[in-house]
Amino acid sequence: MADVATATTASRSNHGIPAGHGPVTRPNMTAVGTMVWLSSELMFFAGLFAMYFTIRAVAPNLWAERTAELNVPYAAANTLVLVISSVWCQLGVFKAEAGIPSRTGKLLQVGSWGMREWYVLTYIFGSIFVAGQVLEYSEMFSAGISLDSDAYGSMFYLTTGFHGLHVTAGLIAFLLIIGRTFTSKKYTHHQATGAIVTSYYWHFVDVVWIALFATIYLLK
């Protein structure tokens, strides 16, 4: 026990309780911690929104000129892709909660899919979103809007860019969560917890994007 630094050891003291989940009567610490962290992430995005409204308030003419370059229907379609990916993610969570890591039937039998298949689908939709963002960046760039072109460019690339980085981090998290189901012999409660908190993050990033989309593309 000499190398044990924390209150609880790697071995289980109570075999009735799955490791990594605590007693059933206690809230899941990982989930609570993730939500508290996400609320601080909200403050990070509050800074970005505040930046948007400050620059908009001091440079209304720039806004009128630059927002004409935005391709609203294209961004709306991209937004829809991200929102749908959240639905697939939630279906994967239901499977994770039921303890089904992978499909029980054939690949085309969608009803038999496990967490892994739904998360792969979420990953694909998320990557389409990021790819769509990159394409939009290239169009904005060819219209002469870059990070250092003017205040609008700074605002546009910083807000959407930081969000895009969050989505990319979420995609990496999905890969790690999917990877764990391959390296472990059994699907444990701890793995399901990982899958669930990753979905919290994904839904959060999705909701933030809806707010960013409404601010940048609809409100202008």
Partner: protein, 137 residues
């Protein structure tokens, strides 16, 4: 979890109230509505309500804890809280790799490219440490 939920919802409601007052007062000022503080206050409300709602929702799914009992004893909350890594080198490696990437962003992008594989290695090592084979937690 009722106490925690109430505490955070209170933060949220306080921020909403302040946002309304702030909005009304700045709208009447000569400079017009000030959006930055308004956005910050509304999202602070989001911070409180998001946590508060989650705690309420979690509390509904779990039994009452010893913490919820006003006459509860400290000893009642003993037991297994979950899995904690007894020791691991990965967080140190991960932190060093992140530090190198950030350092690279400050001094030159070539260092970021060199540090990235280290970061990838550290992230994989860290997340997979206890999820291998039969011993997976």
């Amino acid at each position: 979890m009722k106490t925690e939920a109430k505490l955070f919802v209170f933060i949220g409601l306080f921020a909403v109230t302040m946002a309304v007052i702030y909005g009304i007062f700045t709208a009447q000022s000569p400079q017009g509505l000030e959006p930055v503080g308004l956005v910050a206050l509304i999202l602070t409300a989001g911070l409180g309500i998001m946590c508060g709602f989650f705690f309420w929702w979690t509390g509904r799914k779990t039994d009452l804890r010893p913490d919820d009992d006003p006459d509860g004893d400290i000893a009642a909350i003993e037991g297994d809280y979950g899995f904690f890594s007894p020791h691991s080198w990965w967080p140190l490696f991960l932190g060093a790799a992140c530090g190198l990437v950030m350092f690279g962003a400050a001094v030159g992008w070539w260092l970021v490219i060199l540090a990235m594989p280290l970061l990838v290695l550290a992230v994989i090592g860290w997340t997979f440490e206890y999820f291998k084979g039969e011993d997976a937690i």
